[in-house]
């Protein structure tokens, strides 16, 4: 299994993502500059956090037109694992790979804190190693993480079991509808989430609950490809 971490001008969690992938999954992870147009050799594509293009105008709005995004869409189409974290989630929604949009936090402030999450769907490639309804602690750090989707879209998300993470009861930090913290696409191979699992892979960082997200992908991929 091989991972690509996309780097846009202004990405700043790209190195953290590589470190987390390498330390938890022990696989190769390349930093891929946004100008690249071919991602076919990768099994996992991670769109990291940060402030692509300064997040000017709207977060993710400009990055979504980077050359690499077409390749991301292609590989998503082919069923590769794609995960967008924080700014990456914003980019994936702007690009239409995931439904909805991320608005400013209700507090109107940037918020960085340990967030309590509930795993709502433990049968995605990203959550296979968690239990259903497991409570985990993963940090958030965003100013625009307030997930929005209209009623119809929300119904669909629920019906298809696309809601993967919610903020735990009473802990919604940003006002997102249904306390949504992370969703997958219909096919289940594209995940977007505001919390940063790559920042929770070692107890020295305050939590290692994010490790299982990475190892889940490895487990699933091995099963899919009959690798042990």
């Amino acid at each position: 299994m091989k991972a690509a971490v996309i780097s846009f001008p202004g990405s700043n969690c790209d190195q953290d993502a590589i470190k987390a992938i390498v330390s938890t999954m022990q696989i190769e992870a390349d930093l891929v500059w946004h100008a690249h147009t071919d991602l076919s050799s990768y099994d996992l594509i991670l769109v990291p956090g940060g402030f692509s293009y300064g997040d000017y105008l709207r977060s993710g709005a400009i990055a979504r037109f980077s050359p690499v995004m077409e390749a991301v869409a292609n590989e998503a189409q082919r069923g590769k694992f794609v995960i967008g974290i924080c700014n990456g989630f914003q980019i994936l929604t702007e690009a239409g790979l995931l439904p909805g949009a991320l608005r400013r936090n209700e507090s109107l402030q940037f918020q960085c804190e340990m967030a309590h999450l509930v795993v709502e769907n433990a049968s995605t490639p990203f959550t296979a190693n968690y239990h259903f309804r497991e409570e985990i602690i993963i940090p958030i750090a965003h100013g625009e993480g307030n997930y929005y989707a209209d009623e119809a879209t929300l119904d669909e998300l629920v019906q298809n079991d696309q809601i993967v993470f919610r903020y735990a009861d009473g802990h919604n930090p940003n006002g997102s509808v249904g306390s949504i913290a992370g969703i997958v696409n219909k096919k289940g191979n594209v995940l977007g989430m505001m919390p940063h699992p790559e920042r929770a892979v070692h107890t020295l960082l305050g939590s290692d609950d994010g490790s299982k997200l990475f190892t889940s992908m490895l487990t699933t991929w091995r099963e899919m490809h009959g690798v042990r």
């Binding site: 949009a101 608005r103 507090s107 109107l108 929005y148 989707a149 006002g175």
Partner: protein, 85 residues
């Protein structure tokens, strides 16, 4: 011809505008009690060259739909002004 488009972007009516709410509150706290409602949006001035009016309208609509706004949560209106040399 050179045209300046003034583009006004606001959140759709169905989307809560916490910034507007905050500004309203702040104005009330400052005794501007006659203020009823505030909506906060974005204002863009885009200057470009086109041949004629209809091209200008087409261009602005395209830029807005593609990049300048997110139709999931935002709507926009605009005005065009010719920029004289």
């Amino acid at each position: 011809m050179k045209v300046q488009a003034k583009i006004f972007v606001t959140l759709k009516g169905s989307v809560l505008d916490p910034q507007g709410v905050a500004v309203t509150k702040a104005l009330h706290a400052m005794k501007y009690e006659q203020v009823e409602d505030v909506r906060v949006g974005k204002y863009l001035e885009v200057v470009f060259d086109v041949e004629n009016d209809s091209q200008a309208h087409e261009l602005v609509a395209k830029m807005c739909d593609q990049l300048l706004t997110n139709p999931v949560i935002e709507k926009y209106t605009y005005e065009l002004v010719e920029v004289l040399a």
